[in-house]
Amino acid sequence: MSELAIKARGVKKYYGRFAALKGIDLDVKAGVVYGFLGPNGAGKTTLIKILLGLSIPNDGEVEIFGKDLFLERNEILKTVGAVVESPAFFEYMTAYENLYNLTRLSGWISKEKIEETLKLVGLDDVGKKKVGAFSYGMKQRLGIANALLPENRLIFLDEPTNGLDPHGIMGVRQLIKRLCRDSGITVFISSHLLAEIEQVCDYVTIIDKGEKVCEDKVSELVEKQSRIEFKTPDSAKAAEFLKTADVEVIEERKHHDSSVFILKGHETEIPELARKLVASGISILKIARHKDTLEDVFVEITGKTKTDSVSDRF
């Protein structure tokens, strides 16, 4: 069994009577990109702060690389970095000076290593500029550089693409994948962006209202939600047919002159279904496996439906 980078058991956190975390368990394998997904206010940042020893839980145990966080925090933080909430630096110092002075607190650091890391995040041209002149996106990237130094094995990134332009977002996502693939760094990302987790992460935990609602491999989680979709101009006929057929209709999306029906079922059932539809005189414009996105999974797991009004929690 591979080493666990993070092991959390029964982590609870209360703010007064409000339960921000209601007993979270977490097992994060070393060397993976792990996503932590949930709506705003679900408790993502609270858990990250607890995992970094910035916040004290009311109950629970946390181990980072097998070491007890509450007994050996300073030792653990020698190889753990993070960007929590927004990146906060000393604006009157240059990017290089910020990194040098902050990293020195964790141990020895060479000039070359700092320059190399600045290059890695695309800030090598502005390393000697004061951080006060940086855009938010540049500060985010500097935050990632800071999280990587001196030679961290685990990094926490709290909503890392916030405030970045599309190019910046792509860059950060590629960087995260590269860090994990080439350097074996474990990356723990929190996000409310489902697409981001889907594109970047190997594993995901979904959290809602302080409770873990799901934990799985991203690919398997999406695969588990097998769906078939077909598009037809004969909406009424198809609806009638589906009432009598032995299939579960998940959703019907009505368009101007056609409807898309999303059914529960594996793609191996498509030929049989197609035959039945044709036999019933229903024209088929398209029939295929419906590729669920993590968004579909999330909506299903957290008990929301897409017909609900757009949640203000996102």
């Binding site: 910035l54 004290i56 020698k78 009157y92 110092m93 607190l105």
Partner: protein, 293 residues
């Protein structure tokens, strides 16, 4: 042993970082500008008083002017500047810098950034305390150098000095002339103990910064307490409460100006001042350790 060395190394690096922060910010020099302003205004005021004395009905102008010319010099001028400086100006400057270095970093998230490193939170408080204490002594040194230099240039470098006992040591003290041979030594002692008093102000503002974690509150509340204590300390019929006021011991340096240095009173006040300082720091450290960042 190695753990102790590691902790000392961290405190050293943190203190170095804090000092860089203090001196890299342009506002770090605002304190120096204010000191120059104070010294300049005092110099003009004393110059006019010495060379253009107001008419006094019982003392001939010529006699008063000659007396002041004889007894005002670099040393006495520097001591004259220290009084308003240590009462109001320096605590205000130091307080704002302490709150700016701690509360505003709480507010803006830099405390969290530093706490994400392998450093105990207590070290962060200690490093801020050490660096701000050093900064207090730097401000005092600047005040000493500028005030002495300008006083020496305008009024002469040294000589006997006139000590207004009531201004420094209370109404029961009289006015006396301090021999020029001990004036330098007393001047240095006065500034050294003024620095010791300012350290207590640093600790108080750090404590309130840890409590409130917001710049405005961390400045207004301790500043309010500080000035309220001064006001109450000066009011009649408040004798029973005065000994407990945090400002009661700030003027410890004044004992160096007595005809014979009041070592016993200095020791007592010094211990109380030290206890206040340590208490402030302990509270700041406990709050820092138990706060969610």
């Amino acid at each position: 042993m190695s753990k102790l060395l590691e902790k000392l190394r961290q405190i050293l690096f943190l203190t170095d970082f804090e000092l860089k922060k203090l001196f890299r910010q342009k506002q770090g020099y605002a304190g120096l500008i204010v000191i120059v302003l104070l010294v300049t205004l005092c110099a003009v005021g004393v110059y006019l008083r010495v060379y253009h004395p107001p008419h006094h009905p019982h003392v001939p102008n010529k006699f008063l002017g000659q007396m002041l010319k004889d007894l005002v010099n670099g040393v006495s001028f520097s001591l004259t500047v220290l009084l308003p400086g240590i009462y109001i100006l320096l605590p205000m400057i130091i307080g704002i810098f302490a709150a700016g270095s701690f509360a505003s970093e709480f507010q803006n998230g830099q405390v969290r950034t530093v706490s994400l490193r392998s450093v105990p939170r207590l070290s962060i408080v200690l490093a801020k305390f050490i660096s701000l204490s050093f900064y207090s002594y730097v401000l005092l040194a600047v005040m000493l150098v500028i005030s002495y230099a300008s006083g020496a240039f305008i009024f002469g470098p040294t000589g006997d000095i006139l000590v207004f006992g009531p201004a420094f040591l209370g109404k029961e003290s009289g006015i006396y002339i301090m021999d020029g041979s001990i004036a330098y030594q007393r001047l240095m002692l006065a500034y050294f103990f003024a620095g010791y008093a300012l350290i207590s102000v640093v600790a108080m503002f750090l404590m309130f910064s840890a409590i409130f974690k917001k710049m405005t509150m961390a400045v207004v509340i301790p500043m309010g307490i500080y000035f309220t204590s001064y006001i109450i300390g000066a009011l009649p019929f408040m004798e029973n409460i005065q000994r407990f006021l945090p400002t009661r011991y700030i003027m410890i340096w004044k004992y160096t100006l007595a005809q014979d240095i009041m070592w016993e009173a200095m020791l007592t006040d010094g211990i109380f001042l030290g206890l206040y300082t340590v208490s402030y720091l302990i509270i700041a450290a406990v709050i820092m350790n138990t706060s969610d960042l």
